[in-house]
């Protein structure tokens, strides 16, 4: 009975709609000859929006994409508000219905630091560039946690948003980007704790502290770059869900967090920068704690490596994006 009432409602409402259209006509766009009618002639980009004429309707051309993907960052920019809302959602939702709430952002790196200090610092006697071991480890763990959580969140982001992907169009890049950005709040909190610890140890930040934003950006680029690869692969192969935790763990140990990179002689140390997180971690220690490691060349290598990962990830993502809705 209900169903039939429902379909009756549909017919009724659409009948009214139809008659209204017949009577009312299309005043809104009468006489507007939309611009960009031949935008189909442009090459490459499958989805073109011509918004040069704000009075007329926008024109979208849908066609199969061929060859190398177009990043189409312009469109992503148009959807910046969506990006903002997705970040905002991730931030809001992250600690909903948890007893400890946002303190999780601090608990995780803090207790890792405690464990590292006990086992690596005290028992194993790992050197720490002349710094107290706890702060040596924590200065590295703060950017590391940002990287690691960004990586795991973004890797899962596409699969967990499959409802959206299957039903609504928007630039898919927004999803993994949002999940990496959402980690910035956690980072800010943990960073405050780091500053508190420095105060506790009576350390003042050096002038190099101005490099922190750049180093954070480097961590973000790395996290997003790897996240893009993993999230796109995850659509196809759910193995990725199992690979990610393993990757994060493995990466933790090949990054100089529990130990200093100064254990390595040059030029190997600079080459160590091929792991972008090595550059980030050593950079954080250098700019905040004033270690005398002068990681400049290492960071340069890291930046280059991170950019390669990001560019590759972005193109791979866009290339795979065509079939996300069919495969997820």
């Amino acid at each position: 009975m209900q169903r039939s009432a429902r379909s009756d409602f549909v017919t009724l409402s659409l009948r009214r709609l139809l008659s209204a259209i017949c009577k009312g006509g299309s005043m809104a766009h009468d006489g507007v000859i939309p611009k960009g009618a031949n935008s189909a002639e442009f090459g490459g980009d499958p989805y073109q929006r011509d918004e040069s004429d704000t009075s007329g309707p926008s024109v979208v051309v849908i066609r199969p994409s061929k060859g190398l993907a177009n990043l189409n960052l312009l469109e992503l920019w148009e959807y910046r508000e969506l990006l903002y809302f997705l970040v905002w959602r991730d931030v809001k939702v992250r600690y909903k219905q948890t007893a400890l709430g946002v303190s999780w952002a601090i608990i995780q790196p803090f207790f890792t630091m405690v464990v590292f200090s006990l086992f690596f610092g005290k028992l194993a006697g790992v050197p720490s560039d002349g710094l107290p071991y706890p702060i040596f480890a924590f200065a590295a763990l703060v950017p590391w946690t940002f990287f690691a959580s960004g990586l795991s969140q973004s890797s899962n982001s596409l699969v967990s948003s499959q409802d959206l992907i299957k039903k609504i169009y928007f630039p898919r890049l927004a999803i993994p980007i949002a999940s990496v950005f959402a980690g910035l709040i956690d980072f800010a909190l943990a960073f405050l704790v780091l500053l508190g610890m420095m105060l506790f140890y009576g350390m003042a930040p050096t002038a190099q502290v101005v490099w922190i934003p750049a180093l954070l950006l480097l961590a973000l680029v790395t996290s997003l770059g790897v996240g893009l690869w993993f999230s796109a692969l995850n659509v196809l192969y759910r193995d990725v869900a199992h690979i990610v935790p393993f990757t994060v763990q493995f990466w933790l140990f090949i990054t100089p967090i529990a130990y200093p990179s100064s254990l390595l002689p040059e030029p190997w140390r600079t080459l160590y920068g091929l792991n972008p997180m090595a550059g980030v971690v050593e950079g954080f220690r250098w700019s905040l704690l004033g270690t005398e490691t002068a990681p400049g060349p290492m960071i340069a290598v890291s930046a280059l490596a991170a950019l390669c990962i990001l560019a590759g990830g972005a193109y791979y993502f866009r290339w795979m994006e065509r079939s996300f809705a069919d495969r997820v």
Binding site: T11, L14, L17, L18, A20, I21, P34, L86, I168
Partner: protein, 430 residues
Amino acid sequence: MRGSAIHIDNIGKQYRIGAPENRHPTLKDALSASSRRAMLAIRSPLQIFRNKQQHRFWALRGVSFHVEQGEVIGIIGRNGAGKSTLLKVLSRITEPTEGQVVIRGRVGSLLEVGTGFHPELTGRENIYLNGAILGMKRREIERKFDEIVDFAEVQRFIDTPVKHYSSGMYLRLAFAVAAHLEPEILIVDEVLAVGDASFQRKCLGKMGQVANEGRTVLFVSHNMDAVRRLCTRALLLDDGEVAADGTTESVIAQYLSRESEFIRPGVPIDVSRAQRMGNGEVRFVQATYSSLEESVGCQPYTGGPLQLKVEIDSKSDRLIESLAVSIRNLTGMLLVNADVVASGTPLSVRKGRNAVIFNIHALHLNPGRYVVGLWAGDALRTASDHITEAFELDVISAEAGGLGLTPRDNGVVPCRFDVHVNAGPVSPSA
């Protein structure tokens, strides 16, 4: 002058079946498949090509049509004809394999009501989030915010997480956001009405308002009646191709004649290759239906009997506890389910072919088209063979050729009634 709102040119969409697009492969599968392919390529280079062809099919092929601005067009066709694939391509969710579409104007669809809602967020937060996902600008959402809240009737709960909403409230809020998107092109699927009667009236008003602004509407439906009433033009999709495009009446006529080409009363219908579920212990092979009334060509009619002969293959001598014939209307609502389990006496069948005859004494169905389903299984609802859509049949009016008109909004079941008029008020004592 009206411009064309949608210009579809030779669109095709190819899917692979049994291959990655339809299941979740693992890396191992991919690796072993590629090594297998390499082996094949070494053994016979032609085989690999042929193999590839077999696993692909076109969900849409060579589809071309234009929709003028302000036109209301109905898209009809059987399940699997490509209707939903077409909608997916038009709303840019999936990319076509070939061809091109030019769309002028923002596309909104009522397929996606409530997608992107987050249960932990409040109503207010979800309006912003969902609006942004549907492509609204923040200013636009702010401007329409109060209107949306009023429309959804959730003022009191606007700062409550939507996971605490009743399903009605949830749907109303979701519909309210979608309805305020104000797209130039609206894609409507049948299932859009939500909520109670008063909310539905509000929806009506809203849609009337939308229509006044000259929107283009694509209406996808199984319900011929609805399409006939609403659309000036219709498009018939069959097997991924446009089979007919023209006035609603002519296209619907074509659709109906196509459907009933082979299915007539008294003629055995082959159901052995129908889509089915179950363990296959017994299988339906053939079905024949008839009203046994020669004067109407054995066509089932309202209030008349229906005899259904089904032929069943059984793998062994056995008892069938539950054997049923179901009748649904075209929107999928189950109207009749004649199940032997109700009688409590299992049917005994022999190994091999068996014929079972169902006699439904009176068919309380209005004239129209219905879908017949077949079921065999045990009393615990484990299916041996289950065909939800075995075949369709038309029920005709018993008073064919009579003077009466069929009311436009017919109920689900017929009723016999008569009317008398007497002068004066109805006396209370009578």
